[in-house]
């Protein structure tokens, strides 16, 4: 029997979407619904697990299985589910506060374990749901509801954290760049192991335009480098600028002045994350920020495969457990 062909609309639940009008979350939801039918995974085999925050309402809007869990812990629920049900496609939906503040610990550990699931981190550099406090990704000096004199925290880069945890798939996209976002989500889904996609998401109520330098089409060309595996890093309206590696630094060069052979060629497959880490550290306004897939390393064993392989191996070598034998093990005696 041929599988029924699903459309984006089939993945919509019957619940009203309640984000603020104009919120970047809508576009991510739309792209997700568009990408899922292309993956060929049945709806009932798809699970969305989220933490708490505006973005974490996401599972309610999907006609799949879903769990809206507690703040920061979505990766752990997903780990337990995937470890026991490797047949399911599991997505984790989280925000910058959710994943990096309260959930920072779990974020690191799910990545280092390489559980085969996909994390989509909606980064609006603010706490949306609790109405506008600064988050771990808020720029230094920014005035928010909880930082009237400007934030004094140094911001965290989710991509750097992920690379430090030796994540096997690390990518970034933009809510407004829908085609690119769709492409990245699809690649994340196809990756075996934990994939992290950071999506710049505009919170037009509490942090409007925080990433306008990357989001707005006009500015994007000069402030963003679109990474492509095997291709040199070029950007600018007419691709007139490039990035090269000089010693231990990345440097912006004019292509008219430097031969293309000198430009850095992007290698997302490099198991050594050092250069990928340098890309993750490129930050506006001194450098253009990379979008696309920074790292996609295959062949690293996943946690779910390993936990299930051990069970399989134990059964093969010792046979299916016999409870009567187990409880009678060791020294026993008989009372007549």
């Amino acid at each position: 029997m041929a599988l029924p062909v699903l459309k984006a609309a089939d993945f919509a639940s019957d619940q009203d979407v309640r984000w603020c009008p104009g919120c970047g979350d809508y576009s991510i939801l739309a792209q997700m619904k568009k990408v899922l039918p292309e993956l060929g995974v049945p709806r009932e085999k798809t699970v969305f697990i989220s933490g708490i925050g505006c973005s974490s309402r996401f599972p309610y809007y999907m006609n799949t299985y879903g769990m809206h869990s507690i703040h920061g812990r979505a990766p752990t629920f997903a780990t337990g589910l995937k470890a026991t049900r490797p047949d399911l496609m599991v997505w984790v939906i989280t925000g910058d506060g959710d994943a990096l503040s309260i959930g920072g610990n779990h974020f690191i550990h799910v990545l280092r374990r390489n559980v085969d699931l996909n994390i989509v981190l909606f980064n609006n550099r603010i706490y949306g749901l609790t109405k506008g406090q600064y988050s771990p990704t808020t720029n230094e000096g920014q005035v928010t509801k909880s930082t009237p004199m400007g934030s004094i925290d140094h911001p965290l880069s989710p991509l750097s954290v992920a690379l430090a945890a030796e994540a096997t798939f690390v990518a970034r996209s933009l809510d407004a760049h829908v085609k690119h976002l769709g492409m990245v989500l699809k690649r994340a889904a196809e990756h075996k192991g934990t994939s992290l996609v950071e999506v710049y998401q505009n919170c037009n109520v509490f942090n409007d335009g925080a990433m306008a330098y990357a989001q707005e089409k006009k500015q994007r060309a000069d402030n963003v480098v679109e990474l492509e595996h095997g291709k040199p890093l070029v950007f600018g309206k007419d691709n007139e600028k490039g990035i090269r590696l000089m010693g231990n630094h990345l440097q912006i060069v004019e292509r008219s002045e430097v031969p293309d052979d000198d430009l850095l060629i992007h290698d997302e497959k490099d198991p050594n994350p050092s250069i990928q880490m340098m890309l993750a550290r490129m930050r506006y306004p001194t450098m253009p920020e990379p979008i696309g897939v920074l790292r996609d390393v295959e062949g690293v064993a996943t946690y779910n495969d390993q936990i299930n392989d051990q069970v399989k191996l134990a059964r093969e070598t010792r046979g299916e457990g016999d409870l009567q034998k187990l409880i009678s093990a060791g020294d026993t005696w008989v009372v007549k």
């Binding site: 009932e44 299985y65 769990m67 299916e320």
Partner: protein, 618 residues
């Protein structure tokens, strides 16, 4: 066999005490197993310092293991000691108070040097003290030296050779109490078989200890405890945590489910993890998470997926799990949350026992968040209660709290092996897929008020769960005030209804009288023994031991009201008493102890008698 006189006795209580590096726990465990194999009833109480290696020879570093073995059925490791074995002065001064007058005191004389006196902060050799010599039957044995001689041919370094002295002590103790060396010889072979020189040295030390008892003039007689008259069946000796782990594996088999165990190491719960990891061929998956929050959340994830899901910790970790447990209650997913209690608050007394997390289990979550709570009463009972916890969890689609404690977890007793084929199946059903477009109702309830356990992967049953209040039946997010009240009430009713399906409270003794002793958890043995003694003395005292704490058995209110007085001994400041008083308006009297130690039978008898109409029975 021994040629000296053998004196027959009904029971013996021995404590072995030494430095935490001396192998006292090993010695105690061996003596216990050997005694159990000899058919005695046994009960144990290991007691060790929280520091892994407290400074050698100091009072803080004393590690003890107490075992009572008897020809009669016993329920406690005993109050006063018949025999005490001490390896150094620190062990002597911290334990001698528990040795009965005229009891046997065996000391490793080589451990009583000036240096050891300093470490133990004693002025002179306590073995020379007249009170010690007058009050007890003291045997001074040069264990270190005798051990060195016994193992000299085995080519071990002096340090390794000295480590064998616990086997020498074991041999001597075995001789004294007529125990067979065979089980321990088998143990040595299994444990040290890969290091033949260590195995043979330990064997030599063990035999030398035995021979010392047999040949030396010092010991006039040895003691023999006949086999106990236990119910017919096959037995093994089992520790609480081990029984709990096996109970979980059994529950998974009985429900035809694989087991997921998410946890983070903590004393005294870790041994459950250690045991479960051995049984992967039963479909057991263990997850050592990054913290307790991750552990419980992964457990909920596994439960959502349709697996038998269990998490365990001790009080501090349970505190961290609180938010997620509330979610588990809202999601109405079945799982078991084990709390092996220890002395609190905060990090408290990590290696000592207490029963002070009952109110945490009842109320330690935000909002109206009732959960069923059950508690095993003894090491072997952990097996049954683990199965019972999972049965309630699936019948009611709810996380169930299983409250063990350090005393049960590390204690051991003979366990009559159940016939697995005779244990009732735990029926689990998942709704089948539907290919209609009718929306699935994830919060439709059955006669138990349970919702269906629909699992991902099932066609047509797609649904979303979460911690936001949900609409009755549809499970959709709902802020409707009346719905919230209805759902809060429904969840409470669901837990309350469990009372219909658990046994009524049983009583040891008459169902009315002067005094009812009400206990729960690990104080069972001491309370039962104390009540029985009082009954034998002619008092109108009965005992009710509660294993189902929330909801309480349906007849318990009437029972409390049928006695003139109710005494509730607890190793906390009165937590069950508070619940009983508020629920039944019965003025229960508390008897409370928080010293990190279990109750002794004698202090309970004293407490009971102090509340009886006449202190001395007619």
């Amino acid at each position: 066999m021994t040629t000296k006189d053998v004196k027959s006795v009904t029971g013996i209580t021995v404590r072995l005490a030494g430095d935490s590096g001396d192998g006292m726990q090993l010695l105690g465990t061996q003596l216990t197993n050997t005694s159990a194999l000899a058919g005695n009833d046994v009960a144990t109480f290991p007691d060790f310092p929280a520091e892994i290696r407290a400074p050698r020879g100091t009072r803080a570093g004393v590690s003890g293991f107490q075992v009572q073995f008897a020809k009669e059925e016993i329920f406690t490791p005993g109050d006063t000691l018949d025999a005490l074995v001490v390896m150094n002065p620190a062990a002597l001064v911290t334990n001698i108070g528990d040795l009965r007058k005229g009891g046997i005191l065996i000391a490793n004389d080589d451990g009583f040097t000036d240096k050891d006196f300093k470490l133990a902060k004693v002025d002179a050799n306590p073995l020379e003290a007249t009170v010690i010599n007058d009050s007890y039957r003291l045997f001074r044995v040069n264990m270190t030296e005798l051990t060195r001689k016994a193992v000299s041919e085995h080519g071990l370094s002096p340090k390794v050779a000295d480590r064998c002295k616990n086997f020498f002590a074991m041999g001597l103790v075995y001789w004294l109490f007529g125990r067979s060396l065979d089980p321990t010889l088998r143990f040595i072979e299994a444990k040290f078989g890969k290091k033949p020189e260590v195995a043979s040295a330990n064997e030599a030390a063990l035999r030398a200890g035995w021979a010392y008892g047999e040949t030396t003039e010092a010991f006039g007689e040895s003691y023999q405890v006949e086999a106990a008259e236990l119910e017919p069946g096959t037995y093994r000796n089992i520790m609480g945590n081990q029984a709990l782990a096996l109970g979980l594996v059994a529950a998974s088999k009985l429900s035809n489910k694989e087991l997921f165990y998410g946890t983070y190491p903590i004393t005294p719960a870790s041994d459950i993890l250690h045991e479960l990891t051995k049984h992967k061929n039963f479909g057991v998956r263990t997850f050592q998470a990054e913290d307790e929050i991750a552990a419980v959340c992964a457990t909920i994830g596994a439960a959502f997926g349709g697996t038998m899901a269990v998490t365990a910790s001790s009080g501090p970790g349970i505190a961290l799990k609180a938010e997620a447990m509330g979610l588990g209650m809202m999601l109405e997913l079945p799982m078991v949350v084990v709390n092996v209690q220890r002395g609190g608050p905060s990090t408290g007394l990590p290696t000592k026992t207490e029963q002070s997390d009952l109110l945490q289990s009842m109320f330690g979550r935000n909002g109206e968040s009732p959960l069923p709570i059950i508690a095993p009463r003894s090491p072997a009972d952990c097996f049954d209660m683990a199965i019972e916890a999972w049965r309630i969890a699936v019948e009611c689609m709810v996380p169930v709290m299983l409250l063990s404690d350090g005393y049960i977890a590390n204690g051991s007793e003979p366990w009559k092996l159940p016939e697995m084929a005779e244990l009732p199946e735990i029926v689990v059903s998942h709704p089948e897929g539907a290919d209609s477009d009718e929306p699935f109702l994830p919060y439709l309830r059955d006669e138990n008020l349970s919702r269906p356990w629909a699992i991902p992967g099932t066609e047509g049953l797609m649904h979303r769960v979460g911690g936001l209040e949900k609409q009755h039946e549809t499970g959709n997010v709902s802020y409707d005030p009346a719905n919230h009240q209805f759902m809060v009430q429904t969840r409470a009713n669901k837990v309350a209804k469990i009372a219909e399906r658990i046994p009524e409270q049983d009583v040891v003794g008459e169902t009315s009288g002067d005094l009812l002793v009400v206990s729960w958890g690990g104080t069972y043995g001491a309370c039962l023994t104390a009540v029985r003694r009082c009954q034998e003395a002619g008092h109108r005292v009965s005992h009710a031991h509660i294993r189902y704490l929330n909801p309480l058995p349906r007849n318990i209110g009437d029972l409390l009201k049928s006695f003139d007085k109710v005494l509730v001994p607890e190793l906390n400041m009165g937590q069950l008493r508070m619940l009983l008083r508020s629920e039944f308006l019965v003025d229960c009297i508390g008897f409370n102890k928080v010293q990190g130690k279990p109750f002794s039978v004698s202090e309970l008898i004293e407490a009971i008698e102090s509340h009886l109409p006449s202190a001395v029975p007619a």
